[in-house]
């Protein structure tokens, strides 16, 4: 029963917050360009509109193309279930392992890439081929950061890492954590198709990666794919917010309801901070040449490794 409540709350939270965060990033970018930008709620309307539209499926496509949006969406959602927004929410949740969560995202990627190859279009193949390269380069840095965080907490359980961070002894105050934070921030930009790696707002065939794989999708399939990608973005933002930033509002003093609300507000505030950071990163950089992405991955890995070295030498 408690589990159901947890799942329900987490679901409502992610479905409400994920498109909103994307809207916030867009809004900040628009401000910097002296534009008004779309309203914060634009993505909800878009998704609703897409779901009410007819779908077009390529005659070349097999069942993989039709099921991929569902598998990608469900596995991303499932991965997010392991990242409780607040500690209070966790008390009624299930065990979550950080490696499992990352590999669940891997399933989503596997099917998205396959779907890109399924229509026989050149663009799909192009996007798929680029996506697997980025994934192969980013994965070591990501796992190294997460294992190091696990090492600090003594377990690879997401809850343990989160709890240690939120219990006053916040990670971000430590030198090694700044390195790890920087590493995972670069990974976030690569994993969520943000500007130095991929540009989410263009459909230029020479540069697109994520959008190229989705080019043949329409209607409800496209809606699911878009939703999955913003959920993935929120997931990485949550990793940064809950694993590094302080103040979790553990909620021992106030009444459960009040502390829960306060915890949610702090979580939301932290998410907005990271969104601001992403927007700033996007505004202040240009898209890298595709074959410079390995350098980005190498920097991220180097930062992660230095963070780890600093941790084992200096201790917690």
């Amino acid at each position: 029963m408690k589990l159901l409540l947890y799942v329900f709350m987490q679901l409502v939270l992610v479905l409400l917050l994920a498109p909103l965060v994307d809207g916030i990033i867009k809004k900040i970018k628009a401000f910097s360009q002296k534009r008004k930008g779309p309203p914060l709620t634009q993505m909800y309307f878009d998704l609703y509109k897409l779901m009410k539209k007819d779908t077009v499926v390529s005659e070349t496509a097999s069942w993989v193309f039709r099921t991929a949006p569902y598998i990608t969406f469900i596995s991303t959602l499932l991965a997010f279930m392991f990242f409780p927004a607040t500690v209070i929410l966790h008390s009624i949740s299930f065990q979550g392992d950080i490696i499992l969560a990352i590999y669940l995202l891997g399933i989503g990627r596997f099917f998205m890439v396959l779907a890109g190859l399924d229509t026989g279009s050149t663009f799909g193949g192009m996007g798929s081929s680029r996506e697997v390269m980025i994934a192969a380069l980013i994965e070591p840095a990501l796992i190294v950061v997460l294992i190091t965080l696990g090492l600090i907490a003594g377990s690879t359980s997401i809850y343990d890492i989160m709890l240690l961070n939120l219990q006053g002894n916040s990670f971000i105050l430590n030198p090694y954590s700044i390195l790890l934070f920087a590493a995972i921030f670069l990974i976030l930009l690569a994993e969520t198709a943000r500007i130095p790696v991929d540009d989410p707002s263009t459909h230029l065939e020479l540069t697109m990666i994520h959008e190229a794989m989705l080019l043949e999708y329409s209607g409800k399939h496209l809606a699911l794919m878009e939703l999955a990608s913003v959920i993935k973005q929120l997931l990485f933002i949550t990793i940064l917010a809950n694993f590094f930033l302080p103040t979790g509002w553990l909620g021992s003093q106030a009444t459960p309801m009040l502390s829960f609300l306060l915890a949610l507000i702090t979580y939301f505030f932290k998410v907005v901070c990271i969104a601001l950071l992403i927007a700033i990163a996007e505004i202040s950089t240009v898209k890298l040449r595709f074959f410079s992405v390995p350098n980005l991955a190498a920097i991220s890995f180097a930062l992660a490794f230095l963070g780890f070295m600093q941790f084992i030498i200096l201790g917690r």
Partner: protein, 681 residues
């Protein structure tokens, strides 16, 4: 139990002789021999599972002794060999069922009777290797296994590349055997016994180090550890697919059996750096193996390279186990060995399925080149689905078994990270990165395999017109691919059996201690205070699917689905030549890792076009350099040949007087040796 086991051996022999006698009637002999073989394997499966569940001690199965000392055939089954026999039985059962359909392709083209005879003896020889309790019988069976697998690799000997593959294979495998013979002789000289059980006693630490390297090279060749892997990518594509499945699924693992049996059990793995060597070799094999797999366009060679990667992952677990054992950290040692053996079991399942699936693709399309395939998912839907399952499992994605064993390997690395000295910690972290990279590249590699072969438009006539393969073949693949999901959801079924082995060697159960694993079925797998339950995750995923599918159907209840052609930028006439090719798909990674692949690109124009910028006909060839062959094996073979040629002139001059001098010198040398021995002792 003894009689039962002997009966199984007899059935294999009967199947072998039956097919030899009735070799003229291809249909009959193929059907009966494979049914007999599958029955024997099924019985073996039951026997070994029972042994692992019920008995803990080693049981003597068969004893044939001769009057000559040490020449005897004594078969014993203990927990370790029972586990390897279990893997063998599952695989050979499925392969035999698959062969009922698959061999139709070869009726009246090759000698089916002899083939089935060799096939059964091959399985038999692997059983004997795993159960031998005597060094000599181990070596003899090992050699029979190697020779028969050679014969099976070159079975289609009319194709010249197969003979070359066979040649490389037989040279490499005998190189390995040579090291094993030296090791066994050293053991015999120092202990005076040929029993495996007592071989480890009375060995000095110095000798143990030498023996470790001899075993590592001797078994490493068979396992395909980089840089001893060169035979693997040649032998697997040359052999028929059912043989490749057996070779990759279990034959290369007899080498892992050898490593565990001789290094852990006999030599007692008491030195930390032994584990470190195995760990580093494992990580190198994992990363380089999958890196080479990624650029391969022959799908059987791709699978062969992927076997090297998986052997690497198995070795990582094994190395960690040896390190922890030498450091007296028994729980870590047992969990690492568990991860290693579980991955070995899983690899038997999914690589067996993938090789059989590769056989099915070849059966249907007659090509081994990915560039000629495409669109098979619509034409061979069941093969496609089963291979997708196996690919997900080998890419270590949940909820399949491959994920669990990789997760356990990560957790063993994590335990080494928490409980060891600084140097080992840094090494372990680098191994974590290597493992993560191998995982992501494996996913890329199998996306390429499925995406290029099964999705998109067919790239050739034969892929266009192919049909689904017969039911026995699908059953064979299914028997291996579906358990991948089963053991992903209920891993405890197998973990409990492996626990028998770890209990025997490390005297602790994996479920014991604070950092142990719960072995109760349906419970989450908890280790390092972090638990996963793929069963509940899958159930929640299915519930999510039902809920969201209903919601989306409700919102979009007035929508239709339209089938239309793929967007072709308005030019019209999208054809299969405009798709991404297998070469193109791996191009970005080929460019990023160009220091490793050393690609060479040749472009030439056959015909001048209307202008220098338009050519009507051009050739494009891209090759990668086989680094190990070019920079290690070729120079080695070359200098060896040159040295042999030179020395022949000095030694074999053709003069009888010189030869008489040699005999005289040899006599003197022996006399001096004898005198030295007598004075010292």
């Amino acid at each position: 139990m003894n009689d039962y086991f002997n009966l199984i051996l007899v059935i294999y022999i009967v199947a072998a002789f039956f097919s030899l006698i009735f070799s003229k009637k291809h249909q009959l002999t193929n059907l009966i021999a494979n049914i007999l073989s599958a029955t024997a394997s099924l019985s073996l499966l039951i026997l070994t599972a029972l042994h692992l569940i019920v008995s803990t001690s080693s049981v003597e199965l068969l004893r044939i002794t001769t009057s000559v000392p040490n020449i005897s055939l004594v078969l014993k089954i203990d927990n370790l060999s029972a586990f390897f026999l279990l893997c063998l039985a599952i695989l050979s059962m499925s392969v035999s069922i698959f062969s009922i359909g698959y061999m139709k392709h070869y009726f009246y083209r090759i000698n089916i009777g002899l083939f089935n005879c060799l096939y059964n003896i091959f399985i038999l020889s692997m059983i004997l290797v795993i159960t031998s309790s005597n060094l000599i019988s181990f070596l003899v069976c090992w050699e029979i296994m190697s020779l028969i697998s050679y014969a099976l690799v070159v079975y289609e000997h009319d194709q010249p590349e197969n003979s070359k593959a066979g040649l490389i294979y037989i040279i490499m495998t005998h190189l390995g055997t040579a090291f094993l013979i030296i090791a066994f002789m050293l053991i015999y000289v120092n202990t005076g016994s040929m029993e495996i059980a007592s071989a480890g006693q009375l060995l000095s630490p110095y000798l143990k180090n030498i023996l470790f390297f001899l075993f590592l090279i001797g078994f490493g060749v068979k396992a395909g550890i980089i840089p001893l892997h060169v035979w693997l990518p040649y032998a697997h594509p040359a052999a028929l697919s059912n043989i490749s499945a057996l070779m990759s699924g279990i034959m290369i693992k007899t080498a892992i059996y050898g490593l565990i049996r001789f290094i852990l059990v006999v030599l007692g793995a008491s030195t930390v750096w032994w584990g470190v060597v195995i760990l580093v070799l494992g990580a190198i094999s994992a990363v380089l193996g999958i890196a080479y797999a990624l650029i391969e366009n022959n799908y059987k060679r791709l699978l062969a390279y992927s076997s090297i990667e998986n052997i690497g992952i198995i070795l990582i677990g094994l190395g960690l186990s040896f390190i922890a054992f030498a450091n007296q950290q028994m729980t870590i040692a047992s969990i690492s060995l568990l991860a290693s053996l579980f991955h070995l079991f899983n690899h038997t399942l999914f690589k067996g399925a993938l090789f059989l699936g590769a056989g099915a693709i070849h059966y249907a399309t007659h090509t081994k080149n990915l560039e000629d395939l495409g669109g098979l998912m619509k034409r061979m839907p069941y093969t496609g689905l089963l291979l997708l399952f196996a690919s997900l499992a080998i890419s270590a994605l949940p909820p399949f078994n491959g994920f669990l064993s990789e997760w356990l390997t990560f957790q063993s690395l994590f335990q080494i990270l928490t409980a060891s000295n600084q140097g080992l910690k840094i090494l372990a972290l680098l191994i974590v990165a290597a493992l993560a990279m191998a995982g992501a590249m494996a996913a890329a590699c199998f996306i390429k395999f499925i995406g290029i072969a099964f999705l998109g438009l067919p790239r050739s006539e034969s892929a266009q017109n192919c049909r689904e393969v017969p039911i026995p073949m699908l059953a064979g693949i299914g028997l291996l691919a579906l358990p991948c999901l089963l053991f992903g959801l209920f891993p405890q079924i197998i973990l409990r059996l492996i626990d028998r082995i770890t209990q025997e060697y490390f005297a602790v159960s994996i479920s014991s201690g604070l950092k142990g694993i719960s072995l109760i079925t349906n419970n989450p797998l908890i280790i390092n205070e972090s638990g996963i339950s793929l069963l509940s995750a899958t159930i929640i995923g299915i519930i999510f699917f039902i809920v969201f599918y209903t919601i989306i159907r409700f919102i979009g209840r007035n929508t239709k689905e339209r089938i239309f052609e793929t967007w072709d930028c308005g030019f019209g006439g999208l054809n299969s030549r405009m798709q991404y090719t297998a070469t193109g798909f791996s191009k970005p990674l080929r460019i990023v890792f160009r220091f490793l692949y050393r690609p060479k690109r040749l472009l030439w124009y056959n015909k001048e076009g209307p202008s220098p910028y338009y050519h009507s006909d051009l050739n494009y060839v891209v090759t990668t350099e086989p680094v190990f062959e070019k920079y290690f094996y070729h120079p080695l073979a070359h200098s060896l040949k040159r040295w042999a040629r030179k020395s022949r002139f000095y030694i074999q001059t053709g003069s009888v007087h010189i030869y008489l001098l040699y005999i005289f010198l040899a006599l003197i040398a022996l006399l001096i040796y004898n005198w030295v021995c007598l004075t010292i002792c």
